[in-house]
C-alpha cells in the first residue's frame, strides 16, 4: 500500500533534474514546435506578428514551465488560496478596468501583457480545490459544512466570467471544478440535484443569454439553418478538415485557410488549419500528443503521495483533456461554437501562460512526489 520509495523532505538539485518527466517535457516541446508551424501557416506563410509573438511566448513560457517544475510543491500548497484570491481580484478588476473587444470585457492591460484572468482561473480553481480536499477526511466530505464552500468558490469565478461575457471559459472553469469536487468524494446524488436545478433554471438562464449565444446553440443543432451567418464557421471548418483527407493538402497549401474561408484560424480553429494541411495522419499525431500529455499527468498523479498532488494532477489532467475535447468537438461540428482555445496550439498568451503554469505545478508534483505535505 505504500510506495517503496521512502519519504523525503529535502531533495538535491540533481535529484530534481533526474526526476523530471522527460516524456511529458518532450511531448510539450513537440506540440510547441507543431504550433509554430501551424501559426506560420495561419499567417499565410510569413513571419508576421502572430507567428513571432507565438514563438516568443512559447519559448518564454516553456522556460517558465521548467523553472516552475523545480519550485517546491509545499510552496504551491501554501500559496494556493492566495493564488486563487489574486486571480479572483483580477477578475473583479476586469469588470471595472478591463479592455473591451468585440462586445466583451476579458482583458486587463498590465502594460507588458494583456492578461486574460479567466484563463488563469482555470488553474486557480484546480489548485484551490486540490488544497481544499487535501485536508478534508473522506467521511466528512458530504456534510453540509464542507459542501458549501466549493459551491461559492466555483460559482464566483463562473458568474464573473459568464458576465464578461465568455460562456466558453466559464463552462470550462465550471466543469473542471465540478470534476475535482466529484474526485474529492462528493456523492453523485448532489450532482444529480445540481443538474436538476440547472435544468429547472435553464429557461431563465437562456433568457439571460445574448442573441448571438442563442444563435450559436441553435446553429449547432442545425448548422444549415443559416449557412452564411452563424452556421458558416462550423460548415467551413468541416469542409476544411474533410477536404484535408488522409494525408492533407500539404504545408502552406490549405486553401480554406489561405483564402480566408476559415474564421479565427490562428486561435480557436488552429486545429482545423493543421488538419486541412496535414490530414488524418497529422491530426492523429496531435491527438496522440494530447493523449500522451494527459496520460503522463495522470501517471504523475498516481505516483505522487500527497492528496494535494493527486487532486491537482487528476484535476489538471481532466481539465486539460476537456479543453482539448471541447475545442476539437467544436471544430469537428460535434459541439456548439463556444470559444475555447486549444491548449498550446492556439494563439493567446494568457491561455499559454495558464497551461504552462499548470504543467509546471504538475511537474513539481512529480519532483516532490515523495515529500509529505502538512
Amino acid at each position: 500500500m505504500f510506495s517503496p520509495r521512502s519519504i523525503q523532505s529535502n531533495i538535491t538539485f540533481a535529484q530534481k533534474i533526474f526526476s523530471l518527466d522527460y516524456i511529458l517535457i518532450f511531448s510539450i516541446l513537440f506540440l510547441g514546435i507543431i504550433s509554430m508551424f501551424a501559426m506560420y501557416s495561419s499567417s499565410t506563410g510569413q513571419f508576421d506578428y502572430y507567428t513571432k509573438s507565438h514563438i516568443s511566448r512559447f519559448s518564454v513560457f516553456f522556460v517558465l514551465f521548467l523553472v516552475l517544475s523545480l519550485v517546491d510543491l509545499r510552496l504551491w500548497y501554501q500559496s494556493s488560496y492566495i493564488f486563487y484570491l489574486l486571480i479572483l481580484i483580477l477578475l473583479v478588476m476586469v469588470k471595472y478596468f478591463g479592455l473591451s473587444a468585440s462586445g466583451s470585457k476579458r482583458w486587463l492591460d498590465l502594460y507588458f501583457i494583456n492578461l486574460q484572468p479567466s484563463e488563469l482561473m482555470k488553474i486557480g480553481i484546480i489548485i484551490f480545490l486540490a488544497r481544499y480536499y487535501h485536508r478534508i477526511p473522506a467521511h466528512e466530505v458530504n456534510t453540509f459544512k464542507y459542501l458549501l464552500l466549493p459551491i461559492f468558490v466555483l460559482l464566483g469565478p463562473v458568474v464573473l466570467v459568464m458576465t464578461q461575457p465568455d460562456l466558453g471559459t466559464a463552462l470550462l472553469i465550471g466543469v473542471s471544478g465540478v470534476l475535482i469536487v466529484w474526485l474529492g468524494g462528493v456523492r453523485l446524488k448532489f450532482f444529480t440535484y445540481l443538474t436538476l436545478l440547472f435544468i429547472a433554471t435553464a429557461p431563465i438562464a437562456i433568457s439571460f443569454l445574448k442573441p448571438y449565444q442563442k444563435a450559436r446553440i441553435l446553429t449547432f443543432l442545425n448548422p444549415d439553418r443559416d449557412p452564411l451567418g452563424a452556421g458558416y464557421q462550423i460548415i467551413q471548418s468541416k469542409i476544411a478538415i474533410g477536404s484535408g483527407g488522409i494525408f492533407g493538402k500539404g504545408f502552406l497549401q490549405g486553401s480554406q485557410s489561405y483564402l480566408d474561408y476559415l474564421p479565427e484560424k490562428h486561435t480557436d480553429f488552429i486545429f482545423t488549419l493543421f488538419s486541412e494541411e496535414f490530414g488524418f495522419f497529422g491530426s492523429m499525431v496531435v491527438l496522440l500528443l494530447y493523449a500522451l500529455i494527459t496520460w503522463r499527468v495522470i501517471k504523475i498523479g498516481e505516483e505522487t503521495r500527497s492528496f494535494f498532488g493527486k487532486f491537482y494532477c487528476y484535476g489538471f489532467a481532466s481539465a486539460f483533456f476537456i479543453y482539448v475535447v471541447v475545442n476539437m468537438g467544436m471544430v469537428l461540428g460535434l459541439l456548439p461554437i463556444v470559444g475555447a482555445p486549444l491548449p498550446i496550439l492556439s494563439y493567446g498568451g494568457s491561455s499559454m501562460l495558464a497551461i504552462m503554469i499548470g504543467l509546471g505545478v504538475v511537474m513539481s508534483c512529480k519532483v516532490y512526489r515523495d515529500v509529505p505535505i502538512n
Binding site: 500500500m1 505504500f2 477526511p137 473522506a138 467521511h139 470534476l179 466529484w182 474526485l183 468524494g185 467551413q236 468541416k238 469542409i239 476544411a240 478538415i241 474533410g242 477536404s243 484535408g244 483527407g245 488522409i246 486553401s255 480554406q256 489561405y258 483564402l259 480566408d260 474561408y261 488538419s275 490530414g279 488524418f280 491530426s283 492523429m284 491527438l287 493523449a291 494527459t294 495522470i298 498523479g301 498516481e302 500527497s306 492528496f307 493527486k310 487532486f311 487528476y314 481532466s318 483533456f321 475535447v325 476539437m328 468537438g329 469537428l332 460535434l334 509529505p372 505535505i373 502538512n374
Partner: protein, 642 residues
C-alpha cells in the same frame, strides 16, 4: 503530518483512484469518439468535402465569345471582328483612385461628366471589381496609356475583340449589334442563359435574325478566389467558341454600286435571283455608320439619326411602305386576263379623264392616250384603261392576285423590322376602317394608289414571280436557309415553261391559270422599256444581252388638286416632301431572265426619270457580273442551268 497508517487515508486514496478510473474510461470513450469523427470527415466523407472546398475556391468569370463573320457571296467580309483597346481600372490596386482618374482624364482627354460617372460606378461596386474606363481606345490613346503606365497604378490596358462593320452600304441588311438591354433579356432565353456582362446582341438585320447562332459559345476564366470574392490567381482560361459564320447571297459589288447610285437620294434598291430567291442587293438610303452602335451610341448621334428627314435607320427596302403606283398594273392586267374579264385586244379610248358618280378620274397624260389596248396600256401606263379594268374586276379579285404574287406579305423571315403593308379589299376596309368599300376606291387601287401599301422587297418578289413564269419564289439571304436550296436544275428551259405543273418540281408553287397571260405581261413590260413611247424607253439598253423589261410607277404622297393639275405643275417645283415617290420594277435579261429588281426613290418625282436610270445601271452591273456569279454557284455545287 498526515497519519499514513490511518484507515481514513487509505480509504480516501482508494476512492480517488476509483473515481479517476471511471473518469479515465470516460476520457477514453470521448477520445475514440473524436478519432472516429476525424476519420469519418477525413476518410469516409473526404471526397464530398474536397468538392465543397473546390466550390469555395474556384469561381468562373464568363468571357464573351467572338461573333461569327458575315461574308457576301464572293467571300468579302461584311461584318467582322476587330481588336479593340480598352482601359480597365481596379480601384483596389490603386493608392488613390481620384488621383488615378485625374491622371487618366488628362491622358485621354476625358470629360468631367465621364469622370463623375466613373466615380459613381466605383462607389457602387466592390473595390476589387474591374471597371471599364473606355472600351474602345484609338491606337494612339492606347499607346499613350502604355507610355504612362508606370504612373498609373491600378490601371490595366486590355486588348479585346468587338464587332466591326467595314462597309456602310450593307448597314441595313447586315444590321448592327449593341449592348444588351432589358428588352433583349426578356425576349431571348439564350441571352439569359449566357449571362455575360458586356456581350453585344444583334439588334437589327441579319445580326438580329441569326443572333443565337452567330453569337458563339461563352468562354470562361477560372480564378481562385478568397472568402470575400477577390481573385487570387488565374487557374484556367477558355476563350469560348466563335459563332457560326454566314455566307450570304449578297453581291457586295452590286450592293456598293447601288448604294453609290442612291447616295444623295432617299430610297431603296432590291435585287434578287428570280429562281432561287438569292437576294443580291438590298440597299436602303441614306445609310448610317453601324459601328457607332457597337460601343454604345452617344446621345447626339442618336438624336441626329432619329430626327433626320430621310430616316436613315429605317431599312426602306423592307420597312418602307409606299403605294405601288403603276407597277401594280402588271398584276391588274394579269388578274383581268386570268379571270377572263378582258382580252388583250380589249380597247379603251383614253381622253385624259373619266367621270364616275360625279368624281373625276384622271390619266397622267394630259392629252390622253386615245385608243389603247392592254399592251399599250402597260407600255405607256395608261390610267384610264386600268380604271376600266379595275371597275370590271372589282377590288377583291385584284387583291387576291396581288397577294398571290407576294404583296401584303412578309418575305424575310426573322427580320423584326420588316413590314407587311396593305393589300386592300372590301373586308379589309370593313375591318380596319369600319366603312364600306366605294367603287371609286377600286379605281384608285387599279392604278396602285389609295390604300395600297407595299415595300420595295414585295415589289421585287412580285416582279421575280412574273419573270420566272409565274412560280412562287422565296427570297433568301444565306445559303444555309433551307429555302429553294435544291435547285438541281437539270432540265432545260422548255421544261421549265411547261404549264402543266401545279407546283414546279424545281421551283415553287404555280401562281397562274394560263401561262400565256404571264408571257403577255412580260412582253408588254419589254415594250415599256424597249419600244418608243414606253415609259422607261429612255433607260433602255441597246445591247441584246443587257435588254431588260420594266414597269415604272409613281406613288402619290398627296392628292393632286384640280388647280395644280391645270397649272401643269412640275414635280421639281413642289416642296420636297410633297413630291411623289418614284418606283421602278424590272427583270433582266429579257431573254433568259435571271434577276428582278425594284427601285424606290422617295420624293423622286416620276418613276421614269428618277428610278429607272438607277435600275438600268444596276442591271448593267448585274449582267456584267452574271458569269462570275454563276461560276461561284457552280463551285458551291449549286446548279445554275436554268
Amino acid at each position: 503530518m498526515i497519519s499514513f497508517n490511518s484507515n481514513e487515508s487509505f480509504n480516501k486514496t482508494r476512492m480517488i483512484s476509483r473515481r479517476m478510473f471511471v473518469l479515465g474510461i470516460g476520457k477514453a470513450i470521448v477520445f475514440f469518439g473524436i478519432i472516429g469523427r476525424l476519420a469519418s470527415l477525413q476518410i469516409t466523407e473526404s471526397t464530398k468535402y474536397k468538392t465543397l472546398s473546390d466550390k469555395n475556391r474556384f469561381r468562373e468569370w464568363k468571357v464573351a465569345p467572338e461573333r461569327g463573320l458575315i461574308r457576301d457571296f464572293f467571300d468579302n467580309i461584311i461584318a467582322s471582328n476587330e481588336k479593340v483597346y480598352q482601359l480597365h481600372i481596379t480601384p483596389e490596386n490603386s493608392k488613390d483612385v481620384d488621383i488615378l482618374l485625374n491622371r487618366i482624364k488628362n491622358i485621354l482627354y476625358l470629360t468631367d461628366s465621364r469622370i463623375n460617372f466613373l466615380k459613381r460606378r466605383i462607389a457602387k461596386q466592390k473595390p476589387w471589381e474591374p471597371l471599364i474606363v473606355s472600351d474602345n481606345l484609338s491606337w494612339t490613346e492606347f499607346a499613350r496609356i502604355n507610355l504612362f503606365l508606370h504612373e498609373l497604378e491600378g490601371a490595366e490596358p486590355i486588348v479585346s475583340v468587338a464587332r466591326v462593320y467595314p462597309h456602310q452600304s450593307v448597314a441595313h441588311v447586315v444590321g448592327y449589334v449593341s449592348e444588351v438591354g432589358p428588352k433583349d433579356l426578356a425576349a431571348k432565353e439564350y441571352l439569359r442563359d449566357m449571362a455575360v456582362t458586356g456581350i453585344a446582341v444583334g439588334k437589327t438585320g441579319m445580326e438580329q435574325k441569326f443572333d443565337q447562332q452567330i453569337i458563339g459559345q461563352v468562354g470562361y476564366q477560372r480564378y481562385e478566389v478568397n472568402a470575400f470574392g477577390k481573385r487570387i490567381k488565374q487557374i484556367a482560361v477558355n476563350k469560348g467558341i466563335q459563332g457560326q459564320n454566314y455566307l450570304t447571297t449578297l453581291d457586295f459589288e452590286v450592293q456598293k454600286y447601288a448604294a453609290e447610285l442612291m447616295q444623295d437620294k432617299s430610297g431603296a434598291v432590291c435585287v434578287m435571283d428570280i429562281f432561287d430567291g438569292d437576294i443580291i442587293a438590298l440597299v436602303s438610303a441614306p445609310t448610317f455608320d453601324p459601328n457607332k452602335f457597337v460601343h454604345g451610341i452617344d446621345n447626339k448621334t442618336w438624336k441626329e439619326l432619329t430626327s433626320h428627314r430621310d430616316k436613315p435607320l429605317i431599312n426602306k427596302a423592307i420597312s418602307g411602305l409606299y403605294p405601288p403606283g403603276s407597277t401594280i398594273k402588271t398584276i391588274v392586267a394579269l388578274c383581268a386576263l386570268e379571270n377572263d374579264i378582258a382580252s388583250t385586244k380589249m380597247s379603251v379610248d383614253c381622253q385624259t379623264s373619266i367621270e364616275l358618280y360625279g368624281e373625276k378620274f384622271h390619266c397622267w397624260k394630259k392629252e390622253g392616250h386615245r385608243f389603247t389596248n392592254m399592251r399599250k396600256a402597260i407600255k405607256e401606263s395608261c390610267d384610264i384603261y386600268f380604271y376600266e379594268i379595275a371597275r370590271k374586276l372589282g377590288v377583291d379579285r385584284i387583291a387576291a392576285t396581288a397577294k398571290s404574287f407576294g404583296l401584303g406579305a412578309y418575305h424575310l423571315e426573322g427580320f423584326k423590322e420588316e413590314k407587311k403593308g396593305v393589300v386592300p379589299n372590301t373586308t379589309w376596309k370593313k375591318r380596319f376602317i369600319g366603312k364600306n368599300w366605294y367603287l371609286g376606291e377600286t379605281l384608285h387601287s387599279g392604278i396602285g394608289q389609295g390604300y395600297f401599301q407595299t415595300s420595295p422587297m414585295q415589289l421585287c418578289v412580285m416582279t421575280a414571280q412574273l419573270a420566272n413564269g409565274g412560280y412562287e419564289v422565296k427570297p433568301r439571304l444565306t445559303l444555309d436557309e433551307n429555302v429553294n436550296t435544291g435547285i438541281k436544275l437539270t432540265t432545260d428551259f422548255e421544261t421549265f415553261y411547261d404549264p402543266i405543273y401545279e407546283e414546279h418540281p424545281l421551283l415553287g408553287k404555280r401562281l397562274f391559270r394560263n401561262q400565256e397571260n404571264i408571257k403577255f405581261v412580260k412582253e408588254a413590260m419589254f415594250a415599256s422599256t424597249n419600244e418608243p413611247g414606253g415609259t422607261s424607253y429612255s433607260s433602255r439598253f441597246n445591247e441584246k444581252d443587257y435588254q431588260y423589261a420594266g414597269k415604272t410607277g409613281t406613288s402619290q404622297t398627296k392628292r393632286i388638286t384640280q388647280a395644280q393639275r391645270e397649272a401643269d405643275l412640275e414635280q421639281t417645283s413642289l416642296p420636297y416632301l410633297d413630291r411623289d415617290h418614284a418606283l421602278f420594277v424590272a427583270f433582266a435579261p429579257y431573254e433568259n431572265p435571271r434577276y428582278a429588281i425594284s427601285v424606290l426613290v422617295e420624293h423622286g418625282g416620276s418613276g421614269s426619270s428618277a428610278a429607272a436610270p438607277v435600275a438600268k445601271k444596276v442591271i448593267g452591273k448585274l449582267i456584267e457580273r452574271h458569269n462570275l456569279r454563276m461560276a461561284k454557284k457552280n463551285s458551291l455545287g449549286l446548279n445554275t442551268n436554268v
